[in-house]
């Protein structure tokens, strides 16, 4: 492990997996009114993750910064050609495709989160359609991202997923970072707990209340109106 160098700081790694999990969770709960509150919790988590990433793009470590992402169409083309030829290039931080992927995902994610919030606030049906459309567009980009990462990992024989857990890449890859920023990571985890612990407790309370209400009525909104 000594020949490996720290590239991704801990808050960045937490962000990545929280974003992925909240996106997946929101998709899985999207079509259920029973789980609407869980969907909304996933949405707040997702929105918080995106907001954090924007801050971290300015305040994070070297490879997390937006200044490290440069939009170079020619470089993207070279990267794609190299990938198709089965000889993908290696990068210490984000490659040219990542430099496009990150703003694209963050931008789409911001639209998904904002329109989802507006839908929940019952601000209009067109926002619901925007929310669904943007979420599907993001799913397409996410699938492209996953396929790209798997293809690159297989072709270059360099696993790109493991560094997003350990933070480390082979030393040969180049310059690393000094700190994994554990304090910020701790703050992130605390924020997550502050959202989900009361959120799930409120859900349990509501469900219990509902059950009591149903028992009082004598069963699931059953009516015997004689109108």
């Amino acid at each position: 492990m000594n020949d490996r160098v720290l590239v991704w700081d801990l808050p960045l790694r937490i962000f990545h997996w929280v974003l992925a999990a909240s996106f997946a969770g929101a998709f899985l709960t999207a079509e259920s009114e029973r789980l609407r509150d869980v969907h909304v919790l996933c949405g707040y988590t997702f929105a918080g993750a995106i907001a954090f990433r924007v801050v971290w793009g300015f305040a994070g470590t070297r490879h997390a910064r937006f200044s490290a992402l440069r939009f170079r169409p020619a470089a993207i083309l070279r990267e794609l050609q190299a990938l198709v030829r089965g000889r993908p290039q290696r990068h210490v931080g984000h490659g040219p495709i990542g430099a496009v992927m990150i703003p694209l995902l963050l931008g789409l994610g911001a639209v998904v989160a904002a329109s989802g919030w507006a839908t929940y606030a019952q601000a209009g049906e067109w926002l619901e359609e925007l929310h669904e459309g943007a979420a599907v567009a993001m799913l397409v980009v996410v699938i492209g991202h996953v396929v790209g990462v798997v293809a690159t990992s297989v072709l270059s024989r360099e696993n790109l997923v493991v560094p997003l857990l350990t933070g480390r890449k082979p030393r040969a890859a180049g310059g690393g970072i000094a700190s994994s920023r554990p304090l910020v990571a701790l703050l992130l985890l605390a924020a997550l707990a502050a959202l989900w612990v009361p959120g799930l407790a409120a859900r349990d309370e509501r469900l219990a209340e509902r059950r009591a209400h149903v028992a009082e009525l004598g069963g699931g909104g059953r009516s015997h109106h004689g109108d």
Binding site: E31, S32, E33, R34, L35, R36, D37, V40, Y120, Q122, E125, R203, R206, L207, R210, R211, V214, G219, G220, G221, R222, S223, H225, D227
Partner: protein, 139 residues
């Protein structure tokens, strides 16, 4: 230029395909589907629709759990407590005017209540009842 005619046609026909429908249009479509599923289909029943709507169908929710027993009134979401606009067309003229919306909510809510897709017979029965509800029972 060779795209001018198809383009003009698309512009003219586009709004027509997305035009607002009336509740009776949905009822007619459900009837067609029900007949296709069962040749002995004998029409919709508002009474059967009311029973389907207001009683539980094996799960812990009925349609009324959120929409209320008389859906000319405002309903309340069983989980979030959010306001649900009346479902009966007489009380809310926006209901049963958009095919995409009707399809989406039947699909989602049938899953919540009966844990499967509703049949055309069930949807038609419920719609027949909703269409028969007078506006005056509001609130």
């Amino acid at each position: 230029m060779r795209f001018a005619i198809p383009l003009a046609a698309a512009l003219a026909l586009g709004p027509m395909t997305a035009r607002a429908e009336r509740p009776a249009d949905f009822e007619a479509r459900f009837a067609q589907e029900a007949r296709r599923a069962d040749p002995s289909f004998a029409g919709f029943s508002a009474a059967r629709g009311r029973t389907f709507f207001t009683t539980r169908q094996g799960g812990d929710w009925s349609c009324s759990t959120c929409h209320g027993d008389v859906p000319t009134a405002i309903g309340e979401h069983a989980v979030t407590g959010k306001r649900i606009e009346p479902l009966a067309p007489a009380a809310n003229p926006e209901r049963f005017t958009k095919p995409a919306s009707v399809e989406k909510w039947f699909k989602r809510n049938c899953n919540d209540v009966v844990k499967r897709a509703c049949t055309a017979q069930e949807k038609g029965d419920v719609l027949a009842w909703l269409m028969a509800l007078p506006a005056k029972e509001t609130r």
